[in-house]
Each structure stands twice: as structure tokens, then as C-alpha cells.
């Protein structure tokens, strides 16, 4: 083959049989090695020369990194679980409506069949869905390295900037835990993009705890509005929890919009992103509220 006709820059390729072996290669790579999961973000970045690792460590042979299990503590998703498998998984469909709704927005079919949950979180694209969901669901990422062993990183501490996370160069995310919510809640994920599967101009993940006909608590995260997904809690938005929900959602939308300084690009102006954030926040909260179970009463729609 004529190697000068190949699109990707040259690199060494290894497919270790065990995580330990992979972690050893990663540590020895001294920051110049990258882990390959589904490759749906890293390979395009290499094609565009935005990334030029000298070594790719393909985890496809490492067992135990894919799969989903649920117990009393919550849901554990293996890092190599593809977005397609997660979307179709009975446990996700039964017990994580917010994750399910977000997965339905991710990528085109040929992307989701390869792209992984862990890969999307570690790629940390500011417009991606899963980081926003991880923030709202208070996800905990499990990271492994030879030097430090295993540690848990809260989603809130994980996303540091565009394509930048709290992971050290020698660490691999092995899974993500979604703790069972302390109180029953309703949730909703909404986004606006040009075509189904395209990157969102703005996305909103919302979760609401209800107390009768009032909002007891809410948590929101927005994607596509800055250098990383942005989390908002009830008190931060200076909302009056005693207000009628309808007016609270409107105020919340305006409050979120006024706190954002979104960027401008080919797809949307900063003003349009602000508008979307305002409107989608209001809509997502309204829907999450309507879905939230009423304590002591019948479950919401």
C-alpha cells in the first residue's frame, strides 16, 4: 500500500489483553499515548491533526469494561459500553429515563454503534450530551492507573474545560456509576440541533423533585453553552421554591440565560444560543416536573 495515501498520521498500535498491560503502556507513553475506545472522536481528531499520539492503546481485547448492572446503590456502566447498547439496555430503559433520553439524541446510527459511554465522557466535548447528564445525575467516574490504583472522581470535578478532564495522563476511566436518587424525581433531556444526530447547538438535562404542587428541588446542566457543560442547582438560580411551578420555570429559564456567556460559531450566534438555553430550560423543567412522582400520590405522567 502507498503509505503516503493514508489519511491518519503514523502511530504505533497495541491491543493489550489486560487492563494492567494497557495501563503499563499508557504510563510508559509519558503523555504521548492515547487510549482508543470506539474511536468516533479520537480518529477524526487525528485525521484533522488535532491529536497526534505516538501510540494508540486499543482496549477492545480487555474484558470486563463493557456492560451495565444495577443494584440498590444505583447503576454501573462499563466504560466500553457502546452508546447503542446502553440505549437499548433494559436497565437503562427501566431506571434511567434521563440517560435514555440523552442517548437518543447522540450521533447517527453508525456513530452510536461504535462510540462508547466512557469515551464520550473522557472526550469532554462541550456540546456533548453525556457530560451534562453525568452532572445532573451526580455520576461518579472510576479511574485506574498503575501509580495511583483506583480512584473515584465526581462528575462535578471531572470536566475542566473543552476536551479537558481531571484524568491524569496515565489513567483510564473503567466505568461510571449513577447513584440511585435519594428522592424520586422526574427528568427530561432536550436539545436543538440542525439534524437528528448532529451536535447540539444547546442541550439541557433537567431533574425535578416534587412536593405536591410545588418544586422541592431541581438540578440542571446545559451543553453547548461554553467551554464545558454548566451545572445549575436551585439555590444558585435564586429561585423561590414556593412560587407556582409555571412561573418558577419561566424565571429559571431567564435566570439561566442571563448567567451564560455562550460562544458564537457557524451553527449559532451567541444570542441564539442564549435564547435556546432560556427556552429549553423552561421546557425541560416543565416536562421533568410533569413526570416527577408526587410523594404520597399517584405517579406523574
Amino acid at each position: 500500500m502507498l503509505s503516503w495515501l493514508l489519511k491518519l498520521p503514523p502511530f504505533d498500535y497495541r491491543a493489550p489483553e489486560s487492563l494492567e498491560e494497557g495501563l503499563g503502556l499508557l504510563a510508559a507513553g509519558d503523555g504521548d499515548a492515547r487510549v482508543l475506545a470506539g474511536g468516533q472522536s479520537l480518529i477524526p481528531m487525528m485525521a484533522l491533526r488535532l491529536a497526534r499520539p505516538s501510540l494508540l492503546i486499543d482496549l477492545r481485547r480487555v474484558g470486563g469494561l463493557a456492560g451495565i448492572r444495577v443494584d440498590a446503590a444505583g447503576m454501573q456502566i462499563g466504560a466500553l459500553t457502546t452508546q447503542l447498547v446502553a440505549e437499548r439496555h433494559p436497565a437503562v430503559r427501566a431506571s434511567s429515563p434521563l440517560l435514555l433520553e440523552a442517548l437518543e439524541f447522540i450521533g447517527h446510527p453508525a456513530i452510536c454503534s461504535r462510540g462508547t459511554v466512557g469515551g464520550s465522557l473522557c472526550h469532554a466535548d462541550p456540546a456533548a450530551e453525556l457530560p451534562a447528564v453525568a452532572l445532573v445525575l451526580e455520576a461518579e467516574l472510576t479511574a485506574r492507573s498503575l501509580r495511583r490504583g483506583e480512584r473515584t472522581i465526581a462528575a462535578q470535578d471531572f470536566f475542566l474545560g473543552p476536551f479537558t478532564t481531571a484524568l491524569e495522563f496515565d489513567e483510564v476511566v473503567t466505568g461510571v456509576g449513577l447513584p440511585a436518587p435519594p428522592q424520586p424525581r422526574g427528568s427530561c433531556f432536550l436539545e436543538v440541533s440542525r439534524r437528528p444526530g448532529d451536535f447540539a447547538m444547546v442541550g439541557v438535562a433537567a431533574s425535578v423533585v416534587r412536593n405536591g404542587d410545588r418544586v422541592l428541588d431541581l438540578r440542571l446542566a446545559l451543553s453547548g453553552v461554553g467551554d464545558r457543560p454548566r451545572l445549575f442547582a436551585l439555590d444558585e438560580l435564586e429561585l423561590d421554591a414556593q412560587a407556582a411551578p409555571e412561573s418558577l420555570f419561566k424565571v429559571a429559564g431567564r435566570s439561566v440565560g442571563s448567567r451564560l456567556r455562550p460562544h458564537e460559531d457557524l451553527h449559532a450566534s451567541a444570542a441564539y444560543r442564549k435564547h435556546l438555553a432560556t427556552v429549553l430550560t423552561e421546557r425541560a423543567l416543565r416536562k421533568a416536573y410533569a413526570r416527577a412522582p408526587i410523594p404520597g400520590g399517584a405517579a406523574g405522567a
Binding site: 493514508l6 498500535y13 468516533q40 480518529i43 454503534s113 461504535r114
Partner: protein, 171 residues
């Protein structure tokens, strides 16, 4: 084994099944599955458009799921089952989907057609009677710069609704 010792890394030997045949080749780490199919196996029906996962022209079935062959390293596909557009027809007989898209003039220049065919075949394999909206959603990751998509969607819908042509199974 794929691993080689020392640097620079030598060629990697891979084995995989392509359109039902066992194939073997030597690749570089950076050789994509699309490069391997086209340059080593001569299966040039898989078209390379953007080469960074945007246009969908290079879509193949990888272990029965649609995947962009420009975003899969050939080495990563070792041991996999690959189906390309060349595998759609049986014994020179167009598949029902191919015939429907032929009859509906679902292409102009034809560059994007292999990707659309594979993506639509994957959809129909899973959901033999999709709605038009489901077809549009499934095809939303494939770009065509000529047709405006109407005839492509019409072609796929014709494969859904049309009578079974003799000698060709539904794909």
C-alpha cells in the same frame, strides 16, 4: 498476534471475514478499515469522502451494525465480520433494496450511494417496515450533495412497500 516488539512498529497481520470470505492482510496501525477494503482487497465500492466521519459514504456493516470504515482502524476490526456494498447483491442479482433504489433514481453521481445502501440495509434488517420519518432519521448521518434526498428516501420506502422481486431476499 498484533503486537510487535521494538520500534518502529512493523506491519500488523490481521484476519477478518469480508462478505463471507476469510481475508488476511498486513496493515499499518494507521490503516483504516476503509483503506484496507479498498487498497488491499480491491473492494472499491466503499467510498471515501470526508475521511473524518462526517459524510457516511464509507459506511459498512461491522458485526452486523453500521459503522464508518474511515473511523475504524483495520487492526481494530481484526476477527470481525464485515459486509460491504459488494455483498448486497446475491449471485449478480440486485437485492430488493438495490432494485428499489435503482427504480427510484435514488442517485445522481452515485458517490454517496454505497453508504446510503448499507445504512438503509441495516435499518431494514432491524425494522422491515419503517416509517418515512424513521428512514430519514436513520439516513441523517449520510450526506448527498446532488439529489436533495427525496429520491433516496423514496427508494428506501419503495423497498419497504414494494412487492418482493423474484430471487432477491429482503435486505
Amino acid at each position: 498476534m498484533l503486537e510487535s516488539d521494538g520500534r518502529p512498529q512493523g506491519p500488523l497481520t490481521i484476519r477478518l471475514q469480508v462478505n463471507g470470505e476469510e481475508r488476511k492482510g498486513e496493515v499499518e496501525g494507521r490503516t483504516t478499515l476503509a483503506d484496507f477494503l479498498r487498497d488491499q482487497l480491491g473492494l472499491t465500492g466503499t467510498h471515501l469522502g470526508c475521511e473524518h466521519g462526517v459524510c457516511g459514504a464509507c459506511t459498512v456493516l461491522l458485526d452486523s451494525r453500521p459503522a464508518r470504515s474511515c473511523l475504524v482502524l483495520a487492526a481494530s476490526a481484526e476477527g470481525s465480520l464485515v459486509e460491504t456494498v459488494e455483498g448486497l447483491a446475491r449471485k449478480g442479482e440486485l437485492s430488493r433494496l438495490q432494485r428499489a433504489m435503482w427504480d427510484s433514481h435514488s442517485f445522481q453521481c452515485g458517490f454517496c450511494t454505497p453508504g446510503f445502501l448499507i445504512q438503509a440495509a441495516a435499518l431494514l434488517a432491524e425494522n422491515p417496515s419503517p416509517t418515512e420519518v424513521e428512514v430519514r432519521c436513520a439516513l441523517s448521518g449520510n450526506l448527498c450533495r446532488c439529489t436533495g434526498y427525496e429520491s433516496i428516501v423514496r427508494g428506501v420506502m419503495a423497498a419497504v412497500e414494494g412487492p418482493e422481486p423474484a430471487g432477491a431476499g429482503p435486505r
